[in-house]
């Protein structure tokens, strides 16, 4: 009898446990939209069907899609957009469709690695022979942009042109005024100001509760690296051209000096102690709440209307201004690097379009048209005289344009002239946008590079970041820097990566 009861309890418990694990186990089911392939062959006379897929980041097409209507009419098309809000979901869907040989006619590869995988698996059409049919697009994009879409020697993607050049140090002008300090122009002055912000109670509340500098991880120090003519330590910012040669920032002699200087900031106790653990907008929040006086951030996160409301609301006297990149000992000054190899929108075409020339031709037309002045304005601003008016060459956005044209970037296949576009969209902020766009910046090339086989980038990156943190927090002496490099090479095979990178970049024409 006793045995039975134990058995019953066990059974009951087991069933409960099964339900529990059942609950935990579900929820990651693969979301597979039963989207039609849209492969119906159009009659040669009628409009050509094009299915286009991309990540929408939550943007939806409006019921009255005036850009689509215009494009369809102009180019004799029927465009269907397959939009997925989230990058991971999107990648999943594309991978599933690649596996079933059912890719859309034109779609975005999310990263260079994604593009590489797809190209290696033979899913993509090599577009090199078609480039000559793309005069407007190639002229607008330029060679540097086209390079981003090359894998091996083949043009597997048509990248979007245009890249934002933003980010610089922003500083609390009201704090500077209160303490009677000038705008810091060099790294040393920056350190002095940060010290004053920490110790001299710039917010006047009688408590020592302010900090000099905040940011998210090493991003906070990017202009300080720049002051020594080197770039940040991340795997997106390690390679650049110096004196006609491709160099790696970790091997630059000035790197040690840069790290020593950053350590001075940390030793002085003027940096947010949560620098490394700040996530998302935590650093920005601290700045907006009036706890920190200097932050490396871009105008879009600082002076757009909704942002100003937040920090003015927390402190009506607050006044954030932009700083020029601080100068180093030899006068170098660079703000955040621009990763010109970064894959911002790589448009790829599936291999099967080889046999469907009418579709392929329409895609080429679409790129040429959106790269032209007329088409460019259509996909950036909307319909002329409805959403914008032309004043000579200058575009003036109407109220209706501001309201309705928020989604049109989904049609910017050829990309856009970033700074002009932003200045037109955010007219009031033009000076801020220009300030950051004109800041000197090193152009990094990491985005062009494909890792060699056997190199584990994740492990190497972890080692680099951890060791760098040790150097700047004083847990490891900078004299051991060469030992760090040799471990990086022997244990993590970083040398194979650098060799491969230099070779690949030379081939693309960077540094010979």
């Amino acid at each position: 009898m006793k045995m039975n009861k134990t058995g019953a309890t066990l059974l009951a418990t087991l069933m409960l446990a099964a339900t529990l694990t059942g609950c935990g186990g579900s929820g990651n089911g693969n979301k597979e939209n039963a989207e039609g392939a849209g492969n119906g062959q159009a009659a040669s006379a009628g409009p050509v069907d094009l299915e286009i897929a991309q990540i929408s980041w939550g943007t939806n097409l409006p019921g009255d899609d005036f850009v689509k209507k215009e494009l369809d009419a102009k180019l004799n098309l029927t465009i269907t957009q397959t939009l997925v809000g989230d990058q991971a979901d999107y990648e999943n869907q594309m991978n599933v469709r690649a596996a079933s040989n059912n890719l859309p006619d034109l779609f975005i590869a999310t990263t260079k690695a994604h593009l590489q995988k797809l190209a290696e698996s033979g899913s993509l059409l090599d577009l090199t022979p078609y480039l000559e049919k793309l005069p407007e697009y190639t002229a607008a994009a330029g060679e540097d942009v086209l390079k981003k879409g090359i894998i091996g020697d083949k043009q597997y993607a048509l990248p979007k042109a245009g890249q934002a050049r933003a980010y610089t140090y922003w500083i609390r002008k009201d704090w500077l005024d209160k303490l009677g300090l000038p705008k810091p122009a060099t790294v040393d002055e920056l350190l002095e100001v940060a010290k004053a912000f920490t110790e001299q109670d710039p917010d006047g509340n009688g408590k020592k509760d302010t900090m000099g500098l905040t940011g998210t991880n090493f991003q906070a120090f990017e202009p300080i690296f720049g002051a020594y003519g080197v770039t940040n330590i991340f795997d997106t910012t390690q390679l650049f051209v110096k004196d006609g040669k491709v160099v790696d920032t970790l091997y630059e002699p000035a790197m040690k000096e840069a790290l020593t200087t950053i350590r001075k900031f940390l030793d002085a106790g003027v940096v947010d102690p949560e620098l490394v653990s700040n996530k998302g907008t935590m650093a920005q929040d601290k700045a907006f709440q009036g706890k920190v006086g200097i932050i490396n951030i871009d105008w879009a996160q600082m002076v757009k209307e909704d942002k100003v409301k937040v920090w003015k609301g927390a402190n009506p006297k607050a006044d954030w201004i932009q700083l020029d990149a601080p100068k180093g000992p030899d006068g170098s000054a660079y703000s955040n690097a621009v990763n010109i190899g970064m894959a911002g929108g790589l448009w790829a075409v599936p291999k099967r379009l080889e046999k469907e020339p009418e579709k392929l031709n329409k895609i080429l037309e679409l790129f040429n048209y959106t790269a032209s002045a007329d088409g460019g304005r259509l996909v950036q601003f909307g319909i002329k005289d409805t959403h914008y008016t032309l004043d000579g060459d200058k575009v003036v956005i109407t109220d209706k344009g501001r309201e309705e044209a928020g989604y049109t970037w989904l049609y910017q296949f050829a990309g856009r002239e970033e700074t002009d576009y932003l200045k037109t969209k955010f007219t009031v902020l033009a000076t801020y946008i220009d300030f950051e766009a004109n800041m000197p910046r090193i152009e990094t090339l990491d985005g062009f590079v494909q890792s060699p086989a056997g190199y584990n980038a994740a492990d190497a990156n972890r080692f680099i970041e951890e060791e760098m943190i040790k150097f700047i927090y004083g847990k490891n002496n900078i004299e051991n820097y060469d030992k760090f490099l040799s471990t990086l090479e022997s244990t993590f095979k970083y040398d194979t990566y650098v060799d491969a990178a230099v070779e690949q970049l030379n081939k693309l024409g960077y540094g010979k």
Binding site: A17, S121, E274, S277, K291
Partner: protein, 321 residues
Amino acid sequence: MEQPIAVSATTKAQAHSSRLRRTMADVWKMRTLYIMLLPCLVWYFIFKYLPMYGVIISFKDYNFSDGILHSPWADPWYKYFEMFFQSPYFSQLLGNTLLISVYKLLFGMLPSILLAILFHECRISWLKRWVQTLSYMPHFLSWIVIYGISIAFLSETTGLLNRWITDMGGSAIPFLNGVEWFRSVLVSTEIWKDLGWGAIIYLAAISSIDPTLYEAAKVDGASRLRMIWHITLPGIRNVIVLLLILRIGSILDAGFEQVFVFYHQRVYEVGDIIDTWVYRTGLQQMNFSLGATVGLFKSAIGFILVFGTNKLAKRWGESIW
């Protein structure tokens, strides 16, 4: 020599077939019960057994346009196992994973048992109801939310706790930033989250203990502590052992979601676990074969552990099967 063997073989076969027949007869007799079991078995087959064929990608250079079956075999076949075992961080990852798991197991189970007993002993039923409901609420919060709460209390610059400490003249403690505190924070937030939830299962087990045992003990003059010791605890012993065995089976799961939300570069050395490594190395770099390999490795270890602990438990007279 041959004769006896043949004879014993036939008798064995006969015995075997008669046993089979008996089993079939039993099944037929209980057919309604087995039919009720069927959907569950089908569910397990479709969702747990069928996907197992995907395990073969850990021996292949998986390539999504070729699919699982047509991707080329890895050369050598243990390529991805080697990649995992030879990562410079392998021993550290394993150590972190085991430590965090064992801490969670040790410090997570006892409080839940204790809480269940307290609920059981509580005589004010409305209080018991309320506290019980409140205690398992945190289980439904996501780790992101709990991280937010932890920041609000424990942050070095803005946290409530640290503000008290500094106001009283102490210096702020880097609960979330420091190597020293990181695992403690992981374990304690986990306990906070799942304390009440974990107690439910024990409470269910306790409530199935025959009440006449308590009555008899009361008649014999046993105090409440005595009753807990001699009736409640032995009554739920099998459940405790069961849960222990199940949890030991998943000892290489130290809680990906939680660690992923909480960790950052400064605490990698104490907080980086196998699953977060797989995320960075396997998923972020689209190395799905590697991810599958590590999953297979973890399952194999888990299987051995469940099997082993069950054997051990059998010696004490408790076991799952």
